[in-house]
């Protein structure tokens, strides 16, 4: 009885603090949960969760996967509670859960709770038996100063597994494939078959090049990117094996692929879109969603891509791409995207700080990124900005990019003028969080001047 009372009060606190936050036009995604947890630390263990609690974790692709899954589920009329903002610390999840829970019955008002989560927060957030499906996208080098290395992330994920969880694994990743051999409960696998975009070999470092069982070098028939690909051990039985939900016939020009007999469309013509669409298709099948409805959500009522406002400079289009420092493969995705675009191109890169989480200036990741893909005749100029522009210049020169293609810009306010005068073609910016806003402001000023 006391516990029920405390649960009720914790929910009330969360809802009340959220109301106050909104009253004062504050975001209120973290603080209300913090207050509720402070009042009753075990409150999340007392909630009556919906039938499905789906968590997506991994080094990259969590946010886009969760968006696509939510889009399909909502299209079927399901009530989905999900962390749209990507905020996944304990207090943020608490706010989300408690604000969507009945104050007195303690039942969540949802058919599905869907969360993207950093693996390290799973254990402290949910009691064993709460999560029904855990989807893992990949484990790659990501924020080494924080995560140390991929196997430490792997250990952190496997520590969170309990016997009730249905795992959904991307077995293109050999480190995730290890779980298949150790976990004795339900597992569903997904991946991408060999595509025409794959490489036969790679020129940059790959983790998990060896079989974890017998230490023989894994044989890849194709690499999608990094250590993700189609592989097997030539000596023992460790292999990617038969993949239950496997994307085939990937065509990025048309934006299509197939899973079994189903033709699927991509909402974005980039390789990693195949992964998040395949994962969404897989998990929705596992949640017993009608197949026609899944296809409708993916193909007909296509999810809008997250595109910011598009700008132009002297009638040249500017596309602002995500640039994730310290995650070499994610960074590479953006470089590959630029390479795939037709016509003359100008690229802007740089960052003022390596990370928003810490002040370390660890630049090791620059040497894990395959900047060699920028050796593209269609790239007219590469503009470098920010405090690390000389370090990036070193990396580009080692990648074989000629001096005369690289333009260093000391003062950000001179960037647009320099681009106008010294370069041609569509402009792609690949700057980190700290520079995006500054460039956007410069572009707005240009727009305003035009307006005047």
């Amino acid at each position: 009885m006391v516990i029920r009372m405390r649960t009720t009060l914790a929910i009330m606190i969360c809802k009340f603090v959220t109301f106050i936050c909104h009253l004062f036009k504050k975001n209120g995604t973290v603080y209300p949960g913090e207050r509720a947890i402070k009042f009753f630390p075990k409150v999340l263990g007392k909630i009556d969760y919906p039938e499905y609690v789906v968590v997506v974790t991994g080094s990259s692709g969590k946010g886009s996967s969760v968006s696509m899954i939510a889009h399909i589920l909502e299209n079927t009329g399901k009530k989905v509670i999900w962390n749209k903002s990507g905020s996944n610390i304990l207090n943020a999840i608490s706010t989300l859960v408690l604000n969507n829970t009945s104050t007195f019955s303690h039942k969540m008002n949802a058919d599905v709770l869907l969360l993207e989560m950093d693996e390290r927060f799973i254990k402290e957030t949910f009691a064993p038996g709460t999560i029904t499906h855990l989807c893992i996208t990949n484990i790659t080098r990501d924020q080494p100063a924080r995560n140390a290395h991929p196997l430490m992330v792997f250990d952190s994920i496997t520590e969170n597994l309990d016997e009730n969880i249905h795992l959904v694994l991307n077995v293109d990743d050999p480190v995730l494939n290890r779980i298949k051999y150790a976990y004795r409960n339900e597992i569903t696998t997904f991946g991408i078959a060999k595509t025409k975009y794959d490489a036969k070999s790679l020129s940059y470092p790959v983790d998990f090049a060896y079989c974890p069982a017998c230490h023989t070098k894994l044989e890849y028939s194709s690499y999608h990117y990094g250590h993700l690909g189609v592989y097997n051990c030539p000596r023992c039985s460790f292999s990617r094996g038969k993949v239950e939900y496997e994307a085939e016939a990937v065509d990025l020009d048309k934006g299509t692929f197939k899973i079994q007999e189903d033709e699927l469309k991509l909402n974005k013509k980039v390789f990693f879109a195949v992964y998040y669409t395949t994962l969404a298709y897989t998990i929705c099948n596992l949640l017993d969603i009608d197949r026609e409805k899944i296809l409708e959500g993916i193909n007909e009522k296509m999810m809008e891509t997250k595109r910011g406002k598009t700008y132009s400079l002297d009638n040249r289009e500017i596309e602002m791409l995500e640039s994730k420092n310290e995650n070499a493969l994610s960074y590479l995705q953006s470089l590959n995207y630029i390479k795939m675009q037709k016509g003359k191109k100008t690229v802007v890169m740089g960052f003022e700080n390596v990370s928003r989480r810490y002040s370390y200036n660890d630049l090791s990741w620059l040497w894990d990124v395959d900047f060699e893909v920028l050796n593209d005749e269609q790239i007219d100029k590469i503009f470098l900005i920010g405090r690390f522009k000389y370090d990036v210049t070193v990396r580009l020169e080692y990648a074989g990019i000629k001096d005369d293609k690289i333009v260093l810009v000391d003062e950000l306010e001179n960037l647009l003028g320099s681009i106008k005068e010294n370069s041609k073609g569509k402009i792609f910016t690949m700057v980190c969080f700290d520079m995006t806003e500054a460039i956007t402001n410069l572009l707005k000023e240009v727009d305003d001047e035009k307006g005047n």
Binding site: Y204, V206, N361, L363, W367, R387, D391, V394, Y398
Partner: protein
């Protein structure tokens, strides 16, 4: 006069966790700027190791699993490695690869992993991951400019009982003959061009070649920019 310098990048696909390929690329670039050819041989686990025919051996950092896997093979070459070091071969060993050359690695579980027992230091696994940005003066560098070495540590252990000569005033490094070991991870040679010159000048000297640092190149510009931005006004370590 010898005109080709051969580098062995040992376990390039196993001990290459934090962009350490940059070190081998920098060594090659710096050597070629001297008008000397450079051959880099990437050695994989299971390949035959030869500790007599290369001029420089490089090994970088790896996940602990990879480190112990590498050790399992290196035990067979222990005497060859020891002889090569005693005979003045150049070894550049960065990150946790340095641990392997000591007597043992003591794990938190109190289990010991035997090292190659070439040096008398040992490694002790720490309670939590050691992550820090380190700036140390390398007093062995002949000039003031460039003495601040920019390093990054990201490993599970500390080096103990290290009584050998050191390049920097912190325990996790060693300079013995032409063996340079340090627990710094990442592209140390790219980020510290004066330090790279120092190692290569010694190597060139051993080989009877002349070495002229090319301080007008981009690595030096990047180094000075970083030092000005982050070390001059920094309280870090």
């Amino acid at each position: 006069m010898k005109k080709v310098i051969k580098i062995a990048h040992i376990y390039h696909d196993l001990l290459n966790l934090y962009g350490e390929n940059g070190n081998v690329r920098a060594l090659r670039t710096f050597i070629e700027r001297q008008g000397v050819d450079c051959e880099v041989h990437n050695i994989s686990f299971g390949d035959k190791l030869d500790f007599s025919s290369y001029d420089l051996y490089y090994m970088g950092s790896g996940m602990e699993e990879a480190e112990y896997m590498a050790l399992s093979e290196l035990y067979d070459y222990k005497n060859d490695i020891k002889n090569a070091i005693e005979n003045g071969k150049t070894f550049l060993i960065t990150g946790n690869a340095m641990e392997m050359f000591g007597t043992k690695i003591r794990l938190r579980s109190t289990r010991n992993v035997a090292g190659l027992d070439i040096f008398e230091y040992n490694a002790v696994e720490s309670e939590s991951r050691n992550v820090s940005e380190l700036f140390y003066e390398c007093e062995e560098l002949p000039i003031d400019e460039g003495r601040d070495v920019v390093g990054f540590k990201n490993c599970n252990s500390n080096i103990m009982n290290n009584t050998y000569d050191r390049m920097f005033k912190f325990p996790d490094n060693i300079h013995y003959k032409n063996f340079y070991g340090m627990m710094f991870v990442g592209p140390v040679c790219v980020r510290n061009p004066y330090f790279t010159d120092y190692i290569l000048e010694n190597l060139f000297d051993e080989l009877g070649l002349k070495y002229e640092p090319r301080t007008d190149t981009i690595e030096y510009k990047a180094y000075h920019e970083f030092v000005n931005n982050f070390i001059r006004n920094s309280n870090l370590d």
